[in-house]
């Protein structure tokens, strides 16, 4: 075998901060949460907010289709070569937590093919309240819930609500229509999460995804510092 054809050695096996050529890899942020809470809409809004200043890519983990990837393609938030869909065998939580090999390949291939990248957003298909990302896959995770899914979700807790690096309570514009009490949700989230941050957002408002985008920029600044 001619080892000199492979000067950088074999690929990394885990979440090493450096790529085989010694450069720093992209920051990886996971977005999880229940079905319909607005994960893909948040990813799309983040791409629009960040793409002019940062080199971005997205990995989606759909349950049984390529719908999320196709939504992002249709919305043209990024060029198609920057969006990869991972198939999960009906179990997104397995693909983002228990067996992350397909996702690691997706993020590494994106860096090889369209890099250098600053940031890769890894979106989970809608799942249950216990679905969290492996630390072997992402550097930080955002859990997205919405006011219409029931204002008792922050009180119920679960690994996503209690441990995510950022909790996003989405669709606040719907709160009066579905009888959700935002103050109660904020108090419950505070009780579950202590000092961990919570963002209340409505993507239909002018402010949109600005708070989440600012949080992502801060994580990125810490990553590259």
């Amino acid at each position: 075998m001619h080892l000199d054809h492979f000067p950088h050695g074999p690929a990394a096996v885990g979440a090493d901060a450096r790529r085989p050529d010694g450069s720093r890899r992209a920051l990886r942020i996971g977005l999880g949460g229940p079905v319909g809470s607005g994960k893909t809409a948040t990813v799309a809004a983040l791409c629009r907010a960040l793409r002019d200043r940062l080199s971005l890519a997205v990995v989606t983990n759909d349950i049984y289709t390529r719908e999320d990837a196709e939504f992002l393609l249709r919305e043209a938030v990024l060029p198609p070569e920057r969006i990869t869909a991972v198939e999960t065998g009906a179990c997104p939580h397995t693909a983002i937590r228990d067996d992350i090999s397909a996702n690691l390949e997706a993020v590494e291939d994106l860096e090889d093919e369209v890099g250098p990248l600053d940031l890769i957003l890894v979106e989970s298909g809608g799942d249950n309240l216990t679905a969290t990302f492996s630390k072997g896959l992402v550097d930080a995770q955002i859990f997205v819930i919405d006011v219409a899914g029931g204002d008792d979700i922050p009180r119920k807790g679960g690994p996503g609500v209690t441990t995510a690096d950022l909790l996003v309570v989405n669709k606040t514009d719907l709160a009066p229509h579905v009888g959700s009490d935002l103050a109660r949700m904020a108090a419950d989230a505070k009780a579950q999460r202590a000092e961990l941050p919570v963002v209340f957002q409505s993507l239909r408002s002018e402010h949109g995804v600005a708070d989440v985008a600012a949080w992502v920029r801060a994580r990125l600044a810490a990553w590259t510092a």
């Binding site: 349950i63 065998g89 179990c91 397995t94 390949e105």
Partner: protein, 224 residues
């Protein structure tokens, strides 16, 4: 070797990507060929004696020290469907990552360098067994068991089949799994003297056709 290493490698939760694949079961369910435990058993038996046998012989040969590049070419030659070849390489790459993290070895690193996009999964399985201190028979057993356990687990999800019935199917097939593993080991052990052509080349046309059809579906639960 330790016998426990075999359990680690054969564990369905070993993180090597298999959970997202049905081994052709999703296509067979859609086509009406698997409808319950009985037809699952028939499907598994067919897969065992074709794809399972070939995979087990490749894995046993790799575990026995046969050159992986030659085995990878032999696997290509035995896999007519481009979709199945792509799946085998993707799973080989995923298994390689898990193997290198679990049982670090220079030999695995060298093959990872040689095949950055993945070698065929059974070849990597054999090399993994080797890195774990296991032998050709262990690798063959892992391969034959995977060839039927993957579809059985998938059908539990696809048809909401009673999981006890699916597991009973695997238990009923056990004596046949033993025989196929033996046959695979025997042919693999003949490779140093007789060359790669001695490896079995059993084929299941419906699995190949089904894989091509499945790869074109816009909506599916499993990657293959």
């Amino acid at each position: 070797m330790t016998r426990t290493a075999l359990l680690v490698l054969a564990d369905g939760r070993f993180p090597a990507g298999g959970h997202a694949h049905s081994g052709g079961a999703e296509a067979a369910v859609k086509a009406g060929r698997i409808t319950g435990a009985q037809s699952l058993e028939a499907f598994c038996r067919g897969r065992l004696h074709t794809a399972g046998l070939v995979a087990a012989a490749l894995a046993a040969a790799a575990a026995g020290g046969v050159d992986p590049a030659g085995l990878d070419a032999a696997a290509d030659a035995r896999t007519p469907s481009p979709a199945l070849r792509a799946t085998a390489r993707r799973l080989g790459r995923q298994l390689m990552r898990a193997a290198r993290a679990t049982w670090p070895s220079d030999e695995l690193d060298a093959v990872a360098r040689q095949f950055p996009k993945g070698a065929h999964q059974p070849v990597v399985l054999g090399l993994t067994a080797r890195a774990a201190g296991l032998g050709p028979a262990d690798a063959a057993y892992c391969a034959v068991y995977e060839s039927v356990s993957g579809p059985a687990t998938a059908v539990v999800r696809l048809l909401s089949l009673d999981p006890f019935e699916a597991t009973a199917v695997l238990a009923r097939l056990a004596p046949e799994l033993d025989r196929v593993a033996d046959r695979a080991v025997t042919s693999a052990s003949a490779v140093p003297a007789e060359g790669l052509d001695v490896l079995p080349a059993a084929s299941a046309p419906l699995l190949e056709i089904g894989a091509e059809v499945h790869a074109a579906w816009p909506v599916r639960l499993f990657a293959s």
